[in-house]
């Protein structure tokens, strides 16, 4: 395991629905790296992100994130680590339906245990074109707005690690580029590590490190 790796996936094997998704898979991601994972559907991109987030547990091998072997942590501790160190955008977005957009941002700050920064929240929403959508419930957001709200929530706590599963899939090119610009800007400002999956080669081209699955090895 490299000294400066914030993520180490070591000899991991995992099967889902009785199908081996990753076998003897190894990946190290250093602090500050912008890592993109590309590949066709079903090759294990989301599974890999799930392992890194501690949402999934490998049958073999181990996953170490921020020097913590996730298998050694109980579920609550893994959840806590995720809340305090990671900003995650799920494929399903996972916005809390009972809360407004601002409420979702506020919840993420609460879970991370940080002071609420309303100015930062407003600025984030404004940069993502959601300035007037702060009070809207997720069910009232359009297909283009909801991913941006989820990205804002992932960034609000200024995480050390940004993990996103195809966050720009439903965005038009303008917002796709704007979102990426924002994420890269925050990564530069806060020394944030990025791990993102995508189908979009245009996005992959902007990343310094590209992992193509199913080869199973970093390029």
């Amino acid at each position: 395991m490299p000294d400066n790796a914030v993520i180490s996936v070591e000899s991991v094997g995992i099967s889902r629905a009785q199908r081996a998704v990753l076998q003897d898979f190894t990946l190290h991601i250093s602090a500050g790296v912008h890592q993109v994972i590309v590949g066709p559907s079903g090759v294990g991109k989301s599974t890999l992100l799930g392992l890194i987030c501690g949402v999934l547990t490998p049958q073999h091998g181990r996953v170490i994130v921020f020097d913590k072997d996730l298998a050694s942590l109980n579920a609550a501790a893994r959840d806590k680590l995720r809340a305090t160190h990671m900003g995650v955008v799920f494929q399903t977005l996972g916005l809390a339906s009972a809360l407004s957009v601002l409420g979702n941002l506020s919840l993420a700050q609460t879970m991370a245990g940080i002071q609420h920064d309303d100015a930062f929240a407003t600025a984030l929403l404004s940069d993502l074109g959601l300035a007037d959508r702060g009070d809207a419930k997720p069910r009232h957001l359009s297909r283009g707005e909801a991913p941006r709200a989820a990205i804002a929530r992932a960034l609000i706590a200024r995480p050390k690690l940004f993990v996103a599963d195809e966050p720009t899939a439903s965005l038009d090119p303008h917002w796709r580029d704007t979102v990426l610009d924002m994420v890269f800007a925050q990564a530069a400002r806060d020394a944030m590590t990025i791990v993102m999956s995508t189908h979009d080669q245009a996005i992959a081209d902007r990343f310094g490190a590209v992992l193509t699955l199913p080869q199973g090895q970093p390029s």
Partner: protein, 359 residues
């Protein structure tokens, strides 16, 4: 976290309101039943006021207790004053309080007795001064409230304990001297005067020598007598309709003008009296004794059946409520599975998740 829970509640107000109502209704029902049961037992105990024995004319012991202690039934008959006096002198008797009932005023019973009866219930005047000598009367708190009666007011009582009819004893009105403070007992619903006032209302002359404070002092012969029950047919029945079939032949034997009381409320003079006095009265006199504690227990056991049924129904309702709550929780869990997973992903800890599920 509270804000999050509130947000969830506001996001689905109808199920939250219905569940809250359901839980509140089930809880209220259980508490009400428990409270009613407790209230009934306490009320009986208060109304009994440490009376050990009630002596009355032969009949149903339960009826004697109901009519003479709780004032909810008609008496079994009357007992001659001389018999009451003789009994009061028995060394086994610690205290004997006579009561004479048979009249009412706008639905509230008039009880002829002495000051000892008021002392039994620790009666205190809320307005006026307690005086039940001669035609003076004091009014129980609930009765006074319902009657809107005032101190010094005169009123004519009506013959009979219940019903709409009955002749008014216009010639012997009672005078209100006090309105009693609430006692939480049957006294609150009574109008209390002297035994003599009851007699005089019925045309029985109460000679000056008689003092109803001490029933054993009385040995008078009176011209006329009325049964104190409205429901009996009397020789001088004031034109009333009878409501029950009691045949008080003893009235005729003793003469219609004899002084009588409805019952004697007795406190034992010694522990031995509990064993010997009831038996002695029942076997050696024409009187009958009824033990309030025993009769009340019997009555409560009868009520107990109804209470058990009510408890069963309530328990069933509570069970249904419990099932409904469980179903609601299950549904909430099902509905919020995604939310819960999401909150876990965001870092929510088990207690926070549980509070969200329950609320």
């Amino acid at each position: 976290m509270i804000r999050l829970v509130l947000a969830h509640m506001l996001d689905r107000p109808m199920p939250v309101a219905l569940n809250t109502l359901l839980i509140a209704f089930s809880g209220a029902l259980l508490l009400t039943l428990a409270s009613l049961s407790q209230h009934l037992t306490t009320r009986f105990a208060n109304d009994m006021a440490d009376i050990d024995l009630v002596v009355s004319a032969k009949g149903s012991p339960l009826q004697v207790i109901l009519s003479s202690l709780f004032h909810v039934d008609v008496p079994t008959g009357n007992i001659p004053l001389d018999a009451a006096d003789a009994l009061a002198k028995d060394p086994l008797v610690g205290q004997a309080i006579p009561i004479a009932v048979g009249d009412r005023f706008r639905g509230f019973r008039v009880v002829g007795t002495n000051l000892d009866y008021l002392a039994l219930y620790k009666a205190k005047a809320q307005v006026g001064a307690i005086d039940i000598a001669a035609d003076n009367a004091v009014i129980g708190a609930a009765a006074a409230r319902a009657l809107s009666i005032t101190i010094g007011q005169k009123f004519a009582v009506t013959h009979g304990l219940s019903g709409d009819g009955g002749a008014e004893h216009d010639s012997h009105p009672l005078i209100v001297t006090a309105i009693l403070a609430p006692t939480g007992t049957v006294l609150d619903r009574l109008i209390v005067t002297s035994v003599e006032a009851v007699w005089e209302a019925h045309g029985i002359e109460a000679h000056g020598q008689h003092d109803s404070e001490h029933v054993d002092d009385s040995d008078h012969d009176h011209e006329n007598h009325h049964d104190d029950e409205d429901d009996h047919d009397h020789e001088d029945n004031h034109g009333h309709e009878v409501e029950d079939d009691h045949d008080h032949a003893h009235h005729d034997e003793q003469g219609a003008n004899a002084q009588e009381v409805t019952a004697l409320l007795i406190r034992y003079g010694s522990p031995l009296a509990a064993v010997r006095l009831p038996q002695k009265i029942n076997e050696q006199t024409d009187l009958m004794s009824a033990v309030p504690a025993y009769e009340t227990a019997r009555l409560l056991s009868v009520f107990g059946i109804g209470r058990d049924v009510a408890q069963l129904i309530t328990a069933g309702l509570a069970l249904l409520g419990g099932f409904a709550i469980f179903a609601s929780l299950w549904s909430a869990l099902d509905r919020r599975e995604t939310d819960m997973a999401l909150y876990r992903l965001l870092g929510a800890q088990p207690p926070q998740l549980l509070s969200m599920l329950l609320l």
